[in-house]
């Protein structure tokens, strides 16, 4: 059932919010012991459900009223602990809301809980969480992807109607692909970052994971918009993200940049994405061969920029104002250095060191500045591709979900696996990942549609067209 249909059923009193919420809470109770997709399950959902029902009964419901959702645990929720899956923020309870939380509260959505993730959103496996790894609902031995692995797993396993995640280099799209659901990363500046605990400020964007492209657009309609609290939001974000649903694919020009189909991408994935391309062609779309010559530089540029910003953004975690505080340290320096040693996990530490390396004197020009040059180049190359086409089709990840423990200890291998997603963040563009097939082990394969800036409506409609003719396999959990 789509969220649009659910809305109708709630408004016509066919379904009560209380019943719906109870159903989801029971599923969480039952399934999340295995999946570990939630860090915190809210204990006041019944109260929230009643409040939402009240609004519906008065005939004042809004799009999200009474819809049970999950929120990634790096998005601040007033009075509900927000951990970033880190020991550092294990007991941090914000006294303020993120703008998206505020918007959902205003519409009286029912927040079921806060989802698990890679620590501080740094990772692509949801294995670096202080609260333990998240399991893939299609195969619990496998990772759900990351960093919004909990969000994707919670949707795939039916533990919530939709989920908010965040995407810095693929953290919404890749777990959506691994978990066989749909993930939308909006254009940078579409959704306010106020209250999203920053990883890399110039790349971070809150996104939606849901059961369909239509549902992601449905939720985006409620959370987008220029925000006086985040001056990197744009007035160009205009909403109406479902307005192009049902639009004819005929004549749509789809760019296929050849560099995204290199040897780094598995044959299963390539074949599946190419058959999706053929599907579009059969609907009357035009496939346009295109190229992004700078793709081989993208991962390095992405890691330098994101780590530099992260090193600075995470400097505030020192144990003094909030969060974990070491019991050791007689001087300020000793105290905070011990706090950060004990509070951060290995991957976070690596990124901080890398970021400070890229920024430190003597290395800044060679690393940070060159990365910034590549960033500009990639943006320009996207602009060139978009001169000849309307959307771009790429794989979402080079492989399907892999076994946990497979590459967590090989950072370089992990980083390289981001090749398909990072350029979208580097260029600030919108992209949606949806399932386009399954590998021989029945693990989902994701494809991504990238749009022009603020043209979410088009990629949502194109993904929706595909989904309507695609037979989806259910998760085993």
């Amino acid at each position: 059932m789509s969220l649009t249909e659910l809305r109708k059923k709630l408004d016509s009193h066919e379904i009560s919010v209380k019943e719906l919420t109870k159903e989801y809470m029971e599923k969480i109770e039952k399934k999340d012991k295995i999946l570990n997709s939630f860090i915190t399950v809210c204990d006041e959902t019944e109260k929230e459900a009643i409040a939402a029902q009240d609004i519906i009964d008065k005939g004042q419901s809004k799009a999200m009223t009474g819809i049970p959702i999950s929120i990634k645990d790096n998005i601040c929720t007033e009075g509900i602990r927000t951990t970033c899956a880190s020991k550092m923020l294990n007991d941090f309870v914000p006294f303020y809301n993120a703008t998206v939380t505020e918007k959902l509260n205003n519409e009286k959505a029912v927040i079921l809980g806060k989802t698990n993730m890679d620590e501080f959103a740094m990772g692509a496996s949801s294995c670096t969480s202080y609260f333990g790894r998240v399991k893939n609902p299609y195969n619990t031995d496998c990772v759900p992807g990351g960093s919004s692995g909990g969000a994707a797993a919670s949707v795939a396993a039916g533990l919530c109607a939709a989920a908010l995640g965040s995407d810095t280099g693929g953290s919404v799209r890749q777990p959506a692909a691994f978990c066989g659901v749909t993930g939308l990363k909006p254009t940078y500046g579409t959704v306010s970052r106020y209250g999203l605990i920053a990883f890399a400020s110039s790349l971070d964007q809150i996104g939606v994971i849901a059961n369909s492209a239509e549902d992601t657009g449905y939720v985006l309609n409620s959370i987008y918009g220029y925000d006086v609290n985040d001056r990197t939001t744009s007035k160009k974000a205009q909403g109406n993200y479902l307005s192009k649903i049902g639009q004819n694919i005929k004549g749509l020009k789809i760019g296929i940049p050849k560099e995204f189909f290199s040897d780094a991408v598995s044959d299963d994935v390539k074949q599946s994405v190419m058959s999706a391309a053929e599907y579009y062609k059969s609907c009357g779309a035009e496939l346009v061969e295109s190229s992004m010559p700078s793709l081989p530089y993208a991962v390095s540029a992405y890691y330098l920029i994101s780590s530099a910003e992260a090193a600075s953004n995470l400097s505030r975690f020192d144990g003094i104002k909030y969060g974990y505080r070491s019991s050791e340290g007689d001087t300020f320096n000793e105290l905070i250095s011990n706090t950060r040693r004990e509070g951060f996990g290995d991957e976070v530490k690596r990124r901080i060191l890398l970021g400070n390396y890229a920024l430190s004197s003597g290395y800044y020009d060679a690393y940070y500045k060159n990365a910034s040059r590549i960033r500009k180049k990639i943006r320009d190359e996207y602009a060139q591709i978009f001169e000849k086409c309307d959307i771009i089709l790429t794989p979402t990840a080079p492989t399907t979900a892999y076994k946990a423990g497979y590459q967590e200890n090989d950072p370089v291998k992990m980083y390289l696996a981001d090749i398909c997603t990072v350029t979208v963040n580097i260029a600030g563009l919108p992209a949606i990942s949806t399932t386009c097939g399954y590998d021989s082990n029945n693990m989902p394969i994701g494809m991504s549609l990238v749009g022009k800036a603020f043209d979410e409506a088009l990629i949502i409609s194109a993904a929706d067209a595909f989904e309507k003719d695609f037979y989806k396999k259910e998760a085993v959990i």
């Binding site: 540029a301 250095s337 011990n338 040693r341 951060f344 060191l353 910034s372 500009k376 370089v412």
Partner: protein, 92 residues
């Protein structure tokens, strides 16, 4: 090339303590990571760098005062406070 001395310097800048053993391990990892990062050095430095679009002066926040947060909210997540303040070991 990255060596233990450089990693130690980065750890100092980052304010993260490492044991000697950890430092050796992370030095090796950082070596591999930085090898990957070295790819960016191939770009021609005549290429322009990326800059964020500017906002207009007229669109900046109006100079109006809003209420600050209650002191207890500001301090409530801190492990050590005194006299409405955050506490650190004495500096200077």
């Amino acid at each position: 090339m990255i060596d233990k001395k450089l990693t130690q310097h980065l750890a100092d800048l980052s304010k993260i303590n490492f044991t000697d053993e950890e430092l050796e391990k992370i030095t090796v990892q950082m070596g591999d990571i930085i090898n990957l990062m070295d790819k960016v050095k191939e770009i021609d430095s005549n290429n322009p760098t990326y800059t964020i679009d500017a906002v207009n002066y007229s669109d900046l926040r109006a100079d109006e005062v809003a209420e600050s947060s209650p002191n207890e909210d500001i301090l409530k997540n801190s492990k050590e406070t005194k006299e409405n303040s955050f506490v650190v070991p004495k500096v200077v």
